[in-house]
Amino acid sequence: MAQTSGAAAQPAFLQIQDVVKDFGGFKAVNNVSLDIAKGEIFALLGSSGCGKSTLLRMLAGFDTPTSGRIILNGQDLATMPPFQRPMNMMFQSYALFPHLTVWQNIAFGLQRESLPKAQVAEQVEAMLKLVQLGKFAQRKPHQLSGGQQQRVALARSLAKQPQMLLLDEPLGALDKKLREETQIELVNIIEQVGVTCVMVTHDQEEAMTMASRIAIMSEGRFLQVGAPGDIYETPATRFVADFIGNVNLMEGTLDSDQADHCLIGCADCRHYVGHGITGTEGMAVTVALRPEKITLGKDKPAGERGDFNQVQGTVKEMSYFGSFTVFHLQLASGARLKVSMANTQRHRDEDITWGDSVWAHWSESAHVVLTQ
């Protein structure tokens, strides 16, 4: 997770106000508003078709909003064509100019500003040093590997020291190993340069590891905006809870609602939640429980709250991921419960296998209660 640079106390650096993009009846972006602070790394996360790329293109200037305003550093960008905007984009396909060398690619934007040659050369060298590609300055893009091409694309988009950097699926084209290394490198460079960054991705891992704040987008709307940890541990709706990571969603009824705790009854178990919610008794709620917050054991656990926060089930499936194992339990009502346990020891004391009847239990702070 990137270091949070503190939520905006001054007027936001980038203000997206009630932006709508209507493609002849189909609203790709349906009335979104957002404030982004200077220096933030902000991620728009969503599956394909949710409108995130359309929104990014509107920021860059390749599409104009049907209605709404985009204000950067106090300046309304509405009528500005892309070549006048003080922001630069790193494209998903890198879009490196094949007929130019690495040096010429990076210099391209600077040369459009009619800067003196010496200054251009100085800045290009600085960029090459930043992404550690000094040796490759005279190569053409097809002579570079995927990772190297990406660094050129990054250098090119930072060369003009833009007020804002836009990233379109920055790690999409890389394989897994390279992705992990590049994530950290990329964030380091961005923070070193200190530029505000908006990125678009469908990859949760990418968003959560790189961004300081995330907006979950679906069907043109923002479902939740917040820091990765907040979104993960405190999802606002069922959709968000299900979208991010894995989750167990259990439907239930609010049996009792007190100031410091509440009791929820579900089909297979009863929950003691360590905080009150403002609701009416008898209303329908959903309890969201993340698989890693649950512990498995062969014996019935002696919980401090008695029969709350525990349930018995049969192990139907096990998925081994190396560092952790996911157990799928079938509960009495037929519902499934996913439990994830880290393989902290090379050989487990209690070996749980298919068909075993086990007890799952969790603490009273493990739940998130959802009403939407």
């Binding site: 200037g61 494209f91 007929h99």
Partner: protein, 282 residues
């Protein structure tokens, strides 16, 4: 096994078919070349090797004048076709929707297939009407050039369109994002990337113009006889060894050009593949 025998049959059949096909394509060309050295008034009887037809060609004023005119027209046609073809290709590839797009697309593509007698006649009749009304243009180089432009534009548009479609649109967006205004995008990014197709289009339209008979016949005037027209009128009368001589010269020039170009393209492509493979190994 069934599959094994059918695979080798395929190979044998394929090789023969290709071989016979190429033979069919090249027999006339080879015949032209060989008979251009034939020392005999009767073209089909081989009498001996001679260069006399080439010598006669050097003195053949009619043919030489025709060649010079054709070269001029071909050059103008090639340049004009590439310009018009680029405009048309851009309009069709970049602008997905505009008023009259289907009609426009139809008109750009039609000269590719429309019989030349129809195109020639219609263009001529229009030019005559214009001449009646305005006093110009006289039939000659300019009118022939117009007709060839029509044809050339269609061919150029096809070639350039195909290259434009293959190009990554994000390249132009990236250029704009980095501060290039639309005309700068064209000159700095688009044009270099389509340069090869522009050259192909230029060469193709040059060749087509150089070779055209029907359009030239309709649109030429007194004193503007192109080389194909000279050849055609002689060919109509019978076999003529000086025609063979011209043919051989043209074939040699074209052959050298095509072979060099293909070789050059293949070599650059191989080099490129090698460089790309090397890059990923690091």
């Amino acid at each position: 096994m069934m599959r094994g025998t059918s695979v080798s049959f395929n190979k044998w059949f394929g090789r023969s078919w290709l071989g016979l096909g190429y033979l069919f394509l090249y027999v006339p060309i080879v015949a032209l070349v060989i008979y251009s050295f034939n020392d005999s008034p009767i073209p089909n009887q081989w009498r001996g090797f001679t260069l006399k037809w080439y010598a006669a060609l050097a003195k053949d004023q009619e043919m030489l004048a025709g060649l010079w005119l054709s070269l001029k027209i071909a050059f103008m046609t090639a340049c004009g076709s590439v310009v018009l073809g680029t405009f048309a290709a851009f309009a069709l590839v970049k602008y997905k929707r505009f008023f009259g797009r289907t009609v426009f697309s139809g008109m750009v593509n039609a000269p590719l297939v429309m019989p030349e007698v129809v195109v020639g006649l219609s263009l001529l009749l229009m030019l005559v009407s214009v001449q009646r009304a305005l006093g110009f243009p006289e039939r000659g180089l300019f009118t022939i050039w117009l007709g060839h432009l029509l044809l050339g534009m269609a061919y150029a548009a096809v070639i350039i369109q195909s290259r434009l479609q293959d190009m990554n649109p994000q390249l132009e967006e990236a250029a704009m994002d980095l501060g290039a205004k639309p005309h700068q995008v064209f000159w700095l990014v688009t044009l270099p990337l389509i340069a090869q197709s522009l050259l192909s289009a230029w060469l193709l339209t040059f060749t087509i113009s150089l070779d055209d008979v029907v359009l030239s016949a309709f649109l030429s005037g007194p004193g503007s006889t192109t080389m194909p027209l000279v050849i055609f009128s002689r060919a109509r009368l019978g076999l003529n060894p000086s025609v063979n001589a011209v043919a051989t010269l043209i074939i040699v020039v074209v052959a050298i050009g095509v072979v060099l170009a293909s070789y050059g393209i293949a070599r650059t492509e191989r080099k490129r593949q090698r460089e790309m493979a090397d890059a990923t190994r690091h």
